[in-house]
Amino acid sequence: MRVVVAGAGTIGSLLAGHLARVAEVAVLTRRPEHARALVENGLRVSGRSDFTATLRASSDPDELGDADIVVVACKGGDLEPLAAGLAGRFAGATVMTVQNGLGAEDVVAARGDWPLLSAVTFMSGTRHADDHVEYVLDTATWIGPFRGTTEADAEAVAELIRSAGLKAEAFADLRPAQWSKLIFNATVNAVAALTGLPHDHHFAEGELGRLVHDLVDEGKAVAAAAGATLGEDPWEMNVHATRRGHAHYPSMLEDVSARRPTEVELINGSLVRAAERNGVPVPLHTALYALVKAKEAGYT
């Protein structure tokens, strides 16, 4: 089995490192020096797993060879150029997006006629270096068919991921899980980015807990108007996550702390635009979306 993992942030690195134990893995990076570090040193995975994976890597898609599965796991802002780089390549592969927000599948679908799977992941980690990722939360990756694929295809990839030591589940319809995660991320990531608080008990109690609850309710109203049923209840996901005993730093908080572009367009933008399309007022999410974008503008 040949797997190309496109994008080697935290999630891409966790998938690539683990899959390299059961498949031939090649990693597509944005920066050449990132690929060099992976090839020369291997990819160290610490935390809940502990090993160093040997894999191929390049910033040039033509050097990666053919693939049976292409996993797209880049940051939202890198998606368009990365998808453009996949066009005309990897014939015969099934492409799976593992992205936050809504609409990543459509961006990739526009670039080629591969069979497509769509995935959301709830696992998390911390990227310590180009060649070192720590596996922190061992929650599952959920996979469903998107275009030209079946639940059985999703299950085959889920089984591959499980055999590599990560958690994965296949679903006939991924939309409920995607909506739950979208509402959860749009709320928790933006509140964390604006306050500087990691995802801790403050999100489930007092005035901030009330705000989080109200934001989740706005999100649920959008999902209902869009005709989507929800998977897990985003508020319960939030409460559960704050009780894990150690506080998680959402990626949007890490991004604003490092003054990097965030995924606010893909996450909060998706939700606010879906609300507009469906005529649902979301004043609180609209406020958070404007505030996080302004915070990004404040870097310069």
């Binding site: 604006l194 705000l211 915070k295």
Partner: protein, 304 residues
């Protein structure tokens, strides 16, 4: 007339040094910052900028030293009101205490400790440059009005002294209009600057952010209207005026300066106050509530 300034930071110093110019006013200042107190006693209190003045007055870091006074002017940050006036209350057993602080709830806090209280709002601004020296950035008016057990002529005597001293002030029967105008302005702009890191002008030139500011203003106006308060000017006009390059485009809101220095902010007395009065009068204030919770979250992130 003997006047004690309670909290002699930037705004308190503007009142203290200017009032000290008057022959018929004896000025005391109580402040916890001992270096500032010592410098005032040694060299006088110097203002520079919009006006150049040196005021000779008695400063103390020990509220017990304050003599009985006809008037007090409280100018601490809102979160220090209670402690400051509790310590100084003995000087005002017959006197009247006015607040010139930001936000909502200061009169109530003062009234816990002294009987006769004057509501006030002031617009001049400055900053402490070094002990004994305050830079006077902006001149502006002050409005006083009764809060409890004070008659208008007494308030007029205080306003007259301020005006003669170069701090134009007027006494009105209902001083809530200017107070709420300033609170709404501050609550709609300060926390947005604090959360985004942007100056006032940059906040206003982003259409989505400017809409959020208007949403906050509208809620504040609704809460004011529910109490029968007539604003003396439209906060929206003040916001757009301040955004002009020659006015305050590059101004970092004091709350942004507080957040950058990791000092507690006045959010409880601005957006928190609007939310509280909104609840009392049945007016929903979801945006102010959200902004309040976010800035409280920022403060909590420093101590977790």
């Amino acid at each position: 007339m003997r006047v004690a300034i309670i909290g002699c930071g930037a705004v308190g110093s503007l009142f203290a040094a200017n009032l000290a110019q008057l022959e018929d006013v004896e000025v005391w200042a109580y402040d916890a910052f001992r270096d500032h107190v010592d410098a005032i006693n040694e060299h006088g209190l110097r203002l520079s900028g919009a006006g150049d003045v040196v005021g000779r007055l008695r400063a103390t870091a020990d509220a017990g030293e304050l003599p009985p006074c006809e008037f007090g002017i409280v100018a601490t940050k809102a979160m220090h009101t209670d402690a400051a006036i509790a310590a100084a209350a003995h000087a005002f057993s017959d006197g009247c205490v006015a607040t010139v602080q930001n936000g909502l709830g200061n009169e109530e806090a003062i009234a816990e400790h002294v009987r006769r209280v004057i509501r006030g709002t002031t617009f001049p601004a400055g900053k402490l440059v070094e002990p004994g020296h305050v830079q006077w950035d902006v001149k502006g008016d002050t409005t006083f009005g009764p809060y409890r057990d004070v008659e208008l002529p007494e308030i007029e005597a205080l306003a007259d002294a301020c005006t003669r001293a170069g701090m134009p002030a007027k006494a009105v029967a209902d001083a809530r209009g200017p107070q709420w105008r300033k609170v709404i302005f501050n609550a709609a702009t300060n926390p947005v600057g604090a959360l985004t890191g942007l100056t006032h002008g940059r906040v206003c030139e982003r259409p989505d952010l400017r809409r959020l500011v208007s949403g906050l203003v509208d809620e504040g106006k609704a809460v004011a209207a529910a109490q029968g308060i007539e604003l003396d000017a439209d906060p929206e006009e003040l916001i757009d005026h301040a955004a002009k390059p020659e006015v305050a485009y590059d101004h970092k809101a004091s709350m942004l300066q507080d957040v950058e220095a990791r000092r507690s902010t006045e959010i409880d007395y601005l957006n928190g106050g609007i939310v509280r009065f909104g609840r009392e009068h049945g007016v929903p204030t979801p945006l102010n509530q959200a902004i309040w919770a976010l800035v409280k979250g920022v403060e909590q992130s420093w101590t977790r």
